[in-house]
Symmetry: C2
């Protein structure tokens, strides 16, 4: 387990994230000395860098890597797509009760709909951060149809899929997508595609105080590592859950783990390398 | 590549999905003869079955696998979580322009916000199916702050992460989470955790006609395989995108690939086994 002290980066990320608008500004490389740049790369939680990425330092390459994407931000959506909803992200889980406790009791999601298929060996559970008053309750056909319709029109659901028997298996069952031990071979790292889900909250530090008290495992507390003001939790299967603010990025002097913002923070393990 | 004909299952899934409310009803096992059950399992796109799942046939086991989850559907969310938003699902992509074309031009998403970090070797692109009129435009600090705030409060965004250089690599770069060739070793299958994202649309068959005309690669057209009325697309990295209806599940006689609902359909490759 590698631990890093990143006090220089604390200041840089403080600058980057204190003002939300800075997040959309591409920093020019003179903001980082090369030694700092190396440290940052070793602490990135977000990415599985390819070997070629380290060479991306010439002006031509930088231009190549910053394509003009303005066409995708403006203008009308194709008319045929105007009612499309991004409804679900499906994750397989080892133990549905542990996952439902985490997503519902800890993160404040509700179970919107579920389906059990014992003859086929699986159940699916749709969860989303909504008030239960909006969820059609009841077991009659009308209620079930209304619940289906409500769920299918609700953006940002997580579909937790449980294949029978996995809760009896030892250890981690599923690859989390971040090149952790499951899925690696011969010492080589798998390039994980899926990275994480992310929730936004009114106050990251307050939210994390509660998560800490509830015994949630952190991948990164708000002040640990180089990035201040955001956190990563681990769900019961090890999937990462990013915790971000709904307003400007801020940092507070001390976080839920007692880590101070101005010393870079210890206790941050990067498992994406 | 295994192709299966599943005419018996066509009828079963027609029954299952024609009435949306049936989706929340656990079918008892007598709906399937054992031979049909085996075929179904071999055609499931949703799950990487564990070896133990096949044994889940006793009444005790079925009871064990259907936990009482009613507590998670009703009642108030914890007060501290009442404003939480399920904001993002992060996927790493090989080529941002190809991904943006797919998510925006094909699926009707808009680029809500992006950030370029050339000195650190990555860009991130947040996309969601929203009208651009809602996205604060402009490059001044006020606009950027408004855009950040809008994005962070928008449920169901996809954060496409691009690590510089991947677009120059040969073939598939990222594991899609479904035990495809990337990430397997020594003939053993990786248990992929992430399964897919899913969009809902007013009419699956109409949507798929358009996708077909645009040259989108299908993992499953609406009538192919056993499950009628839903489709799976592949995004440019091979991630699966499920296409589901916003209302009741229906099936139409012929789908975009000319496959008839009443013959089970050919051309369905299951790569999750």
């Amino acid at each position: 387990m590698r631990r890093v002290s990143t006090s220089a980066l604390a200041a840089i990320f403080g600058l980057l994230f204190t003002n939300a608008s800075s997040f959309t500004t591409a920093f020019s490389s003179h903001h980082l000395r090369s030694s700092q740049r190396r440290v940052f790369q070793s602490t990135s939680t977000r990415f599985n860098m390819s070997s070629s990425s380290a060479a991306a330092n010439t002006q031509d390459q930088q231009k190549q890597y910053q394509p003009d994407v303005s066409q995708f931000m403006t203008g009308d959506r194709p008319a045929e797509t105007k009612d499309y909803v991004m409804q679900q992200t499906m994750l397989r889980v080892k133990d549905p009760l542990k996952s439902l406790h985490f997503y519902c009791s800890v993160l404040g999601f509700k179970l919107v709909m579920y389906s059990e298929f014992p003859q086929w060996g699986f159940n699916v559970y749709f969860v989303a951060p909504v008030d239960s008053v909006h969820i059609p309750q009841g077991d009659d056909e009308t209620a079930k149809a209304a619940r289906w319709k409500y769920c299918m029109n609700l953006p940002g659901c997580i579909e937790l899929t449980y294949n029978y028997g996995t809760e009896q298996e030892d250890g981690q069952v599923y690859n989390t997508g971040n090149a952790d031990s499951t899925g690696t071979t011969n010492g080589e790292k798998v390039k994980g595609g899926f990275g994480h889900i992310g929730i936004t909250v009114p106050d990251v530090y307050e939210a994390c105080e509660r998560f800490q008290q509830m015994g949630v495992e952190f991948h990164k507390t708000p002040n640990s590592g180089g990035m201040k003001g955001l956190a990563f939790l681990k769900d019961p299967d090890g999937y990462l859950v990013e915790v971000l603010p709904q307003g400007p990025m801020i940092q507070k002097p001390v976080d839920c783990a007692g880590i101070e913002a101005n010393n870079g923070g210890e206790g941050y393990k990067d498992n994406s390398k």
